[in-house]
């Protein structure tokens, strides 16, 4: 596999029977995806036709492969066909033909030969508890592998919530100590592409951006590409007018649900979730959860599993059990306060009686001459 890496994407496409026209269409499409302006398409074309594609190694650790699946189902065939399926990956446990020692050898060769040049992509989190024994490949722990591979990598792309923020295996109590990559590797540029899974086109866009421009896309404070993660699902949601009008689904089977009102009160996480679902949608733009009648569960946000229950607007409050929201606690504290105040008021009144009876301002009167 690694033998292909010295060629450009155009050459590789042509080998697969695609025409230059197909190539240009692909460039225009992906440029639109990653949000470069129309004049920028030229630089994408230039880059992909002239620069040899950097080698890519793709690791799978604690994950379910939904990221790979999503990528493969990206709406543009060339993504799956060219970028991922046939030629692009120098190492990936799921898709490579090689197995066992051969596969490990291919990885080793790539890492040696292209030290400092290869792009490392990671799907899945890394267990850190008990010496990392909960995920091993070829007899080595994921932790070891990540550290070694990251050393020679030019940049790291973290696919999905697992690699970006830990996802479900990092949910409390996180028995394996599942850890996202950015908490393990500190000295390399890291792109987080969260989501469970991320949208296929988003993944394609990110990887093409890195390949074409040879630098990272603009990232936000959590290391996510701004092109896809700068807006909340809520900001592009077609149910937003109902939200602003204060028209909400109250229960799943009410009239409002049939009318397609906003799902805020039944737990929609759209207002807290940064993702492109409302714009790109899923399965070639067919739909996305809210369009299918289910609130967003916030799968691309850190700790979304711990912020349940999913069908409630307010999360359960940590440490108080699943049914307790901040409002329950607030109300309880409010009642306790009122109780305390009542006690205080009673004691104050007893004191005041004494005060009126005995003093002028609290000093006991002397001899009763006042």
């Amino acid at each position: 596999m690694s033998s292909h890496t010295h060629r450009t994407l155009l050459e590789q496409m042509q080998e697969q029977g695609y025409s230059r026209r197909d190539f240009l269409k692909f460039c225009a499409w992906i440029s639109a995806m990653i949000g470069v302006e129309s004049t920028g398409v030229v630089s994408v074309v230039r880059a992909l036709e002239s620069k040899p594609r950097p080698p890519v190694v793709w690791f799978h650790f604690q994950e379910c492969t939904c990221c790979s699946e999503s990528f493969l189902r990206s709406s543009h065939p060339i993504v799956a066909d060219i970028v991922l399926d046939r030629i692009s990956l120098d190492y990936t446990e799921t898709l490579q033909a090689a197995a066992g020692h051969q596969a490990e050898q291919a990885l080793h060769d790539t890492m040696q030969k292209y030290r400092g040049e290869y792009i490392m992509t990671v799907e899945g989190s890394v267990p850190t508890k008990d010496g990392g024994v909960y995920c091993t490949i070829g007899g080595r722990t994921a932790l070891d592998i990540v550290k070694e591979a990251a050393e020679g990598a030019k940049a790291i792309i973290c696919w999905g919530s697992c690699a970006s923020n830990g996802c479900i295996q990092a949910a409390k109590p996180n028995p394996t100590g599942a850890t996202p990559i950015h908490k393990i590797i500190k000295d390399k540029p890291i792109i987080n592409v969260p989501g469970c899974p991320p949208i296929g086109e988003v993944m394609a866009g990110v990887i093409v951006h890195v390949l074409a421009f040879d630098r990272l896309p603009q990232l936000d404070g959590l290391g996510r590409p701004k092109a896809f993660y700068s807006k909340r699902v809520h900001d592009s949601c077609y149910r937003r007018p109902f939200y602003d009008a204060g028209l909400f689904v109250e229960t799943w089977d009410d009239e409002n649900a049939r009318k397609g009102y906003c799902l805020y009160k039944v737990g929609c996480r759209g207002p807290m979730t940064y993702n492109a679902c409302g714009i790109m949608r899923w399965n070639c733009g067919v739909s996305y959860p809210i369009q299918s009648g289910h609130g967003c569960i916030g799968c691309s946000e850190a700790a979304f599993w711990d912020n349940g229950p999913f069908y409630r607007h307010l999360a359960a409050f940590p440490g108080f059990g699943i049914e307790t929201t901040a409002d329950n606690i607030g109300t309880a504290a409010g009642i306790a306060t009122l109780g305390g105040m009542a006690a205080h008021a009673i004691s104050t009144n007893i004191r005041k009686r004494k005060l009126i009876a005995t003093t002028d301002g609290g000093v006991p009167k002397k001899g009763g001459d006042e």
Binding site: L222, A245, G246, G334
Partner: protein, 245 residues
């Protein structure tokens, strides 16, 4: 027969006009922010037959919340400034206990006014030491609400100002956590607010020194002997720090 207080009282001007204005703007802001904030968290169910395009009540609630947040912030900033520019009762020194007298007063307030295990009256002029500390915590809570609130608001605003607070979201691990704590803090305001009102009434009820109306007119009453004591302590051998009493 009427009960007459024999010890003479003296009026002192404690709360300057800017402090009073600040207080009432702050009061209105907190009430509006808590009410709208609560509604944003748990909107009431509206069974309306009108088209969504003809309604905007939830949008309006949020708009009021955001607008009020700006007023609240600038009012708060003004108060911080006044902590340096205002009179001795408005000074920041009242809020952070930094000398032994303040710590002693704090303990006294706890014993006398809160637990009521002692009876002799305690006559602070401005904030008493415990109130000062509480307001300092309140200021921290204000700052927290401002940062978390504008941090969340940054995502829906194109203005540069909220962007100054966007850093809090990644720091706290995402909008979800920020919202949760912003919401929790609302309850802190409600509870502290209720206790505050209770204690203001308490002081007036027991001491009769015009604590309640002082936030309207600025005047408080104090025993004449306390004033004389105070003047002595100020005119006499120079103290390191002026005691807030």
């Amino acid at each position: 027969m009427a009960i007459v207080r024999s010890k003479p009282m003296q009026q002192i001007y404690v709360w300057e006009l800017p402090v009073r204005i600040y207080h009432w703007i702050n009061f209105v802001c907190i009430v509006v922010l808590a009410a709208t904030g609560y509604l944003v968290g748990s909107p009431v169910a509206l069974k309306s037959t009108a088209e969504a395009s003809n309604q905007y009540w939830f949008g309006t609630i949020r708009f009021v919340h955001f607008t009020c947040a700006y007023v609240f912030l600038f009012n708060f900033l003004f108060r911080l400034y006044w902590g340096f520019a205002g009179n001795e009762f408005a000074s920041w020194k009242n809020f952070i206990p930094h000398n032994r007298a303040q710590w002693k007063e704090l303990a006294d307030v706890l014993r006398i006014d809160i637990l009521q295990t002692r009876q002799e009256p305690l006559h602070s002029m401005g904030h008493n030491a415990l109130a000062g500390v509480t307001y300092f915590m309140m200021f921290l809570a204000f700052a927290f609400q401002v940062v978390t609130g504008f941090g969340m608001y940054a995502a829906m605003s194109t203005s540069w100002f909220p962007q100054l607070f966007a850093w809090i979201v990644p720091l706290m691990g995402g909008d979800f956590a920020v919202r949760q704590w912003h919401h929790m803090m609302m309850w802190f305001f409600i509870i502290v607010g209720v206790i505050h009102i209770h204690l203001v009434f308490y002081h007036d009820y027991v001491e009769g020194r015009g604590t309640t109306s002082s936030m309207v007119g600025g005047w408080k009453f104090i025993d004449v002997e306390r004033v004389i004591e105070r003047i002595h302590s100020e005119v006499g051998p120079r103290k390191k720090k002026s005691k807030s009493d």
